[in-house]
Structures are given as C-alpha cells and as structure tokens.
C-alpha cells in the first residue's frame, strides 16, 4: 500500500477474497481525516467495493497472483476512484440491465449497475480493465 498525500491514495493488492475489506477500511480511515459528508463517502466506498469485487472475480479470475490497483483522489468538490485489474477487459455496454423483468431475480449482475447509481460519472479505459467513477461532494449535507 502506498499513500501519496492526504488527498491521494494508491493501493495495490493481490486478488484475495479479503482485499475488498482492506480497501474499504483504508478508504474509511482516509475519509475520516478529510471530514467528508457521510452520504458521499458511503456511496463511494460501496461503489469501490463493487468495482474491486468485479476486478478480483471477473477481471483477474480470482487468481491471487494478479493485482488489483485502486487510486483515490479527493478534492474540494469530488472524490474520484479508479480500479484496474490485469484481465483482458470487457465491454461495459454488454452488461445486462439487472432491473429488467428477465434479470430482476438473478442473484448476480448488480455490481456495475450500483456503481452507476451511486456515482455521478462512470468511465472505462479502452481495454475495459479499468473503471473510473466520480462522486460529487455536496457540502452541507
């Protein structure tokens, strides 16, 4: 793990089943020091949790030798998180909408949907193995 400054955080973790917990705990500690609104930090932590689970399970195929990289940058107005894996990437447009009747009772497939719902902006790199999401900070919440 490497911390660049109070507002920047970089984590590199093996694709273990515990790494998601480690990421969320580290973000929680970092956000506490920045005194950010609780609603915004809850949303970004949950989105990060979903992205890390996807990176470990789908991107890296739960291969513990492969790494997941998490970067978090916080400024006055936004929290931006980027999660990347060592997989071949995927087409985010191919992910079915989990709220459609034919998908609503499936147990999986809600992670990316939740990231979109929880964040104000979501984008991918061209390869599809790196997701960046942004949460606006509503001061005075």
């Amino acid at each position: 793990m490497q911390t660049e400054s109070t507002n920047d955080l970089i984590l590199e973790l093996h694709s273990t089943r515990d790494c998601m917990t480690q990421v969320v705990e580290t973000l929680s500690e970092a956000f506490e020091g920045l005194r950010l609104p609780e609603d915004a930090t809850f949303d970004i932590k949950l989105a990060t949790q979903e992205a890390v689970v996807n990176a470990v399970e789908h991107g890296n195929g739960a291969d513990e030798r492969k790494m997941v990289r998490v970067r978090c940058h916080t400024n006055e107005d936004t929290i931006t998180v980027t999660v990347s894996d060592e997989g071949n990437g995927f087409d985010p447009g191919s992910v079915p909408n989990p709220t459609l009747p034919e998908n609503i009772l499936k147990e999986s497939g809600r992670g990316l949907f939740l990231i979109h719902q929880l964040c104000d902006e979501v984008r991918f790199n061209d390869r599809g193995n790196e997701i960046t999401f942004v949460k606006k900070i509503a001061r005075g919440e």
Binding site: V53, I104, L114
Partner: protein, 111 residues
C-alpha cells in the same frame, strides 16, 4: 457476517449481523434456507436490524432467499432494514419482492 437461527411461533427466525462481504457469507445464508426448506419450514423471518448496509452480494443473498422460499410456496419477511439497506433494495428495484416489518413480533404475527 454472523447468522443466528431460532425457531419462533411456526417460523424460522434468522438474525443477520454485520456486513455481507464475501461469497462464503452468500453461500452460508443460501445453504441455511435450503436446509430449512428441506426440513419442511415455509415461513422465514429475516431480521436485518444489525446489518449496517448491503452491497450487491447482500442483494444476492436476499434475492436468492426470496426465490428459494417462493419456489416452495413459502413466505419470507424482512424485519427493520436500516436506511442504507433500504436504499440499496430500492435502488436495485427488488424491494417490491419483500414485505418488511418494523419488529420481529410484528413479522411473526403477520398473515
């Protein structure tokens, strides 16, 4: 996640506590429901008052339980989901599948 199971007034009372954070948590809840259905139980009360929030894994646990219980013509009642749990249930649009109650007693006495 911790799971406490008790038998109460013709229903299986399952109290979850903590965060549902991995596939093992998901499997444990799923296997418990399956086991109780095999034993003939049909009414389940799931106390969520000690679950601080749910991710998609938590939603998977709840949806999985709903499907299993419904397929066996049983009933699944949720008790006291916290605001962050209710928010994700609503966001994922699965809240309509669940009847929620404000207390275990209320859920146990429901029709």
């Amino acid at each position: 996640m911790k799971i406490e199971v008790t038998q109460a007034e013709g229903a299986v009372l399952i109290a979850l506590s903590g965060e549902i954070v991995n596939r093992e948590d998901q499997s444990a809840a799923s296997e418990l429901i399956s086991q109780k259905l095999e034993e003939g139980e049909r009414t389940f009360v799931l106390d969520l008052s000690q679950v601080p929030y749910v991710s998609s894994l938590g939603i998977a646990v709840l949806v999985g339980a709903h499907v299993k219980v419904s397929d066996s013509e049983g009933k699944l009642r949720l008790v006291n989901p916290r605001p962050k749990v209710a928010k994700i249930l609503e966001m994922t649009k699965v809240n309509d599948f669940f009847r929620t109650y404000s207390s275990v007693e209320e859920a146990l006495s429901a029709d």
